[in-house]
């Protein structure tokens, strides 16, 4: 469904993403992990049309979407969320989600229904009338998810929806994401909370210093010495194996 | 067509006028560079400083050049307090809020001046106002030569201060890296207020240099607002060198444009330059990419 080939993006002299490639098949949950500053968010932004890649190609559902603007990418059926949540602060949760819902309909009533339905799916029904700025972290993360879902995407790009949540909240949102997938939405997620990635993703890509260094099942990845080193530091693989 | 001598004189006039633009723009660009705010009250505060010069002269007979240190220091104090008490405290750090607050300050300043000083045109008559330095076709009025030279000297002094002193370095540090500045123990809010104060102090100096040849009314700050904005975007928002080069460029452009196209269209030139730079090269000549 999503094909990224040899994508590069540099800022100034710094290569944030360096010839990274990845594939996501329809119906999958795929994880993208990597240590701090690996370039994950930049890669996401490039896929979603927020940055124009310097080189490389992105295809979605068989169409080349390289260099398209975010709204065009969204129209193709792919939508992203943000690592730092960006709620529309001075409007209600319902109205927040409606902004997403309006992507598929111009009708206010329909958008409201859709928004409420989505809110129910992410467990926000009780918070529909709250202001965007009044939400807790967990609430914001859910809102981020709900708004994106309301555009009825085929592929969701989730950027660290679990960062900053406590274990209970994580467990809850993992459940929500599973259900979203069950409902037929493909998911690519950046995540640091490894338990979550492990329990959710079928496959995981590892990005380090802009380069894709590994790909495989979560279990295999956790054993991959290069990944362990990237995460835990030089010499870690040897130490841990011992 | 015009005599090359006249053109040369026009360039010299432009340079002289540019000196003041530089001073006004340096204050604006400093405030922008450090605080990342556009000080919409710049013109009004210049006007207040000009009234200060006028009243010092009228009531106590203080020559504007003698008044320079007094007015500059006073302007610094007012800028510092204004930032601490109003702008910094009430803007909640939002760009648009600051713009609106400085707009509010300018409305208050303009009408306050009208309230207390009246709407009349006030000038001061200093004995050296009519002195001229002849340079070919150019007759350079002594006060303008002095003002330009003083403006340059003040800018150089300010540059030196920024380069050498701890406070100057702290200002430059805060401009680019607030977090880092806090972590070495720089009081960032204090530096903001100091920077705003210095920006306004530049206006104080400019007022002293302007008054021997200019006039003051509650509206006279506006004459310099758009020019200062244009100078700053031309030079690059926040760029010290840019403001200096930009000020002289604007002075000369305006001068030559006025000579060739007529003064009225010369003014449109300022606005057009402003628009074109913002549209085509928002970083200006010397600005760093945002």
């Amino acid at each position: 469904m999503l094909e990224v080939r040899e994508l590069s993006k540099a800022f100034g002299g710094l290569k944030a993403v360096d010839k990274a490639s990845l594939d996501v098949a329809e119906g999958e949950i795929v994880g993208l992990i990597g240590p701090n500053g690996a370039g994950k968010t930049t890669l996401f932004a490039a896929i979603a049309g927020f940055h124009t890649p310097d080189s490389g190609r992105i295809a979605f559902a068989g169409h080349d979407i390289t260099g398209l603007a975010p709204h065009q990418v969204c129209a193709a059926g792919m939508v992203r969320t943000f690592q730092i949540t960006q709620p529309f602060a001075r409007i209600s949760v319902r109205e927040n989600i409606m902004v997403g819902a309006y992507f598929r309909t111009a009708d206010r009533r329909e958008a409201m229904h859709l928004a409420e339905a989505v809110a129910a799916r992410v467990g926000m029904t009780s918070q529909l009338d709250r202001q965007g700025s009044d939400l807790t972290v967990a609430g914001r993360k859910r809102l981020e998810l709900a708004r994106a879902l309301a555009t009825r995407p085929r592929l969701l790009l989730l950027d660290e929806v679990m960062a900053g949540l406590n274990p209970t909240e994580i467990a809850e949102i993992v459940e929500v994401i599973r259900e979203i997938r069950t409902a037929g939405v493909t998911i690519l997620l950046i995540e640091h909370v490894m338990q979550a990635v492990t329990s959710l993703a079928e496959r995981v890509y590892v990005l380090n210093q802009g380069r894709m260094i590994a790909e495989g099942t979560p279990a295999a990845i956790a054993e991959n010495p290069e990944v362990v080193e990237a995460y835990l530091g030089h010499g870690a693989a040897k130490v841990l194996r011992a | 067509m015009l005599d090359p001598q006249i053109i040369l004189a026009g360039v010299l006039n432009g340079l002289l006028a540019g000196g003041i633009y530089v001073l006004v723009a340096v204050g604006l660009t400093l405030i922008y560079g450090v605080l990342h705010i556009i000080n919409f009250a710049h013109g009004s505060l210049l006007m207040l400083a000009m009234y200060a010069v006028f009243f010092l002269w009228k009531l106590s007979g203080v020559d504007p050049y003698v008044a320079l240190p007094i007015v500059t220091a006073g302007a610094f104090a007012i800028g510092f307090v204004l930032y601490r008490g109003v702008i910094g405290r009430w803007s909640h750090g939002k760009d648009e809020n600051i713009l609106l607050i400085t707009l509010g300050v300018s409305i208050i300043a303009d009408n306050g001046a009208l309230l207390f000083f009246g709407g009349d045109t006030e000038t001061i008559d200093v004995p050296y106002a009519g002195k001229i330095i002849e340079l070919g076709a150019a007759f350079l009025p002594l006060p303008k030569v002095i003002s330009c030279a003083a403006a340059i000297a003040i800018c150089l002094g300010l540059g030196l201060f920024m380069a050498r002193s701890d406070t100057g370095k702290a200002i430059r540090a805060v401009a680019k890296e607030r977090q880092g500045a806090r972590l070495v123990g720089i009081d960032v809010e204090h530096i903001f207020a100091v920077s705003y104060g210095i920006g306004i102090a530049c206006l104080g100096a400019a007022a002293c240099l302007l008054m021997p040849t200019f006039y003051v009314t509650p509206q006279s700050g506006y004459a310099f607002v758009l020019v200062a904005f244009t100078t700053v975007v031309l030079g690059g928002m926040g760029s010290f060198v840019g403001a200096a080069v930009g000020g002289f460029l604007i002075g000369i452009t305006e001068s030559i444009g006025g000579l060739l196209l007529g003064e009225q269209l010369g003014q449109i030139g300022i606005s057009l330059i402003f628009i074109l730079i913002l549209l085509l090269r928002p970083t200006g000549l010397f600005g760093a990419r945002a």
């Binding site: 240590p35 701090n36 500053g37 700025s133 009044d134 939400l135 807790t136 972290v137 914001r140 660290e160 679990m162 960062a163 900053g164 949540l165 406590n166 274990p167 994580i170 640091h192 909370v193 490894m194 338990q195 979550a196 990635v197 492990t198 210093q209 979560p218 279990a219 990845i221 956790a222 990944v227 362990v228 995460y231 835990l232 530091g233 030089h234 010499g235 870690a236 130490v239 841990l240 | 701890d166 370095k169 702290a170 430059r172 540090a173 401009a175 680019k176 890296e177 977090q179 880092g180 500045a181 806090r182 972590l183 070495v184 123990g185 720089i186 009081d187």
Partner: protein, 233 residues
């Protein structure tokens, strides 16, 4: 020396730290570990006065500095070398270092400059260059050098190895060890778990805003929970 008790903190309505206890003794290196988003930087920022904590106390050198301004905290001798270095890009290397003694250690400026140059001879070569043009490793040296200029009693190093080549990472850890050997207390915030644990005396692992593991570094290195915290297994 540093004592954090029940610290709760976050941004706006968002609570990130949910009651953290942590201490650094005189002469110690303490490692603070945890994956991204665990709250390490939030802890740093609240300890150093960049943000005001929601609750809990922070004591340094015996006095309460909870919610104090960063100027006072630096003055007291608690200096942070932040993640991402946060050097002043338009200022020269020398000016960066001099500003390190803006609030504290001003009288010892010349002596300390010489000291820093001794530790990082590379900086001398770049003396008048704008700091923004330095390489990543050099910037990290500069950031640490700038921190040292303030004659800290406790130095917080936030991700000093981030973005450095493996060789430089080795060097960096060796250096941290040397600084500590010279008597400086250090709180080391790292994701480079193995090397951090190798030089630290004690360590804490943050997870979801609370301390998940803590203890002597050697013991933690063996702890199965550590690996799980990072890699999920």
């Amino acid at each position: 020396m540093l004592e954090v008790k029940g610290l709760r903190a976050g941004y706006g309505a968002i609570e990130i730290l949910r009651g953290v206890d942590l201490a650094v003794g005189t002469g110690e290196i303490v490692a603070l570990l945890g994956s991204n988003g665990a709250g390490k930087s939030t802890l740093n920022n609240n300890v150093c006065g960049l943000y005001r904590p929601f609750g809990g106390t922070v004591r340094f050198g015996g006095s309460d500095i909870t919610g104090a301004r960063s100027t006072r905290i630096v003055e007291a001798g608690l200096v942070q070398v932040p993640e991402g270095r946060r050097i002043f890009p338009t200022l020269s290397v020398r000016d960066n270092l001099e500003l390190g003694s803006y609030r504290r250690g001003r009288s010892g400026r010349q002596k300390n400059l010489a000291h820093v140059v001794e530790i990082f001879p590379r900086l001398k070569e770049r003396w008048t260059q704008p700091a923004g043009t330095l390489s990543g490793g050099e910037q990290q040296m500069l950031a640490i050098g700038r921190g040292l200029m303030g004659e800290p009693k406790l130095l917080i190093l936030d991700e000093p190895s981030l973005g450095l080549s493996p060789l430089l990472v080795e060097e960096m850890f060796a250096l941290i060890g040397r600084l500590n050997a010279g008597g400086l207390s250090i709180l080391l915030v790292e994701q480079n778990v193995v090397q951090s644990l190798a030089i630290a005396h004690r360590a804490y692992v943050l997870e979801g805003g609370v301390v998940a593991l803590s203890g002597p570094a050697r013991e933690l290195a063996e702890h199965p929970g550590l690996r799980k915290s990072y890699l999920g297994h």
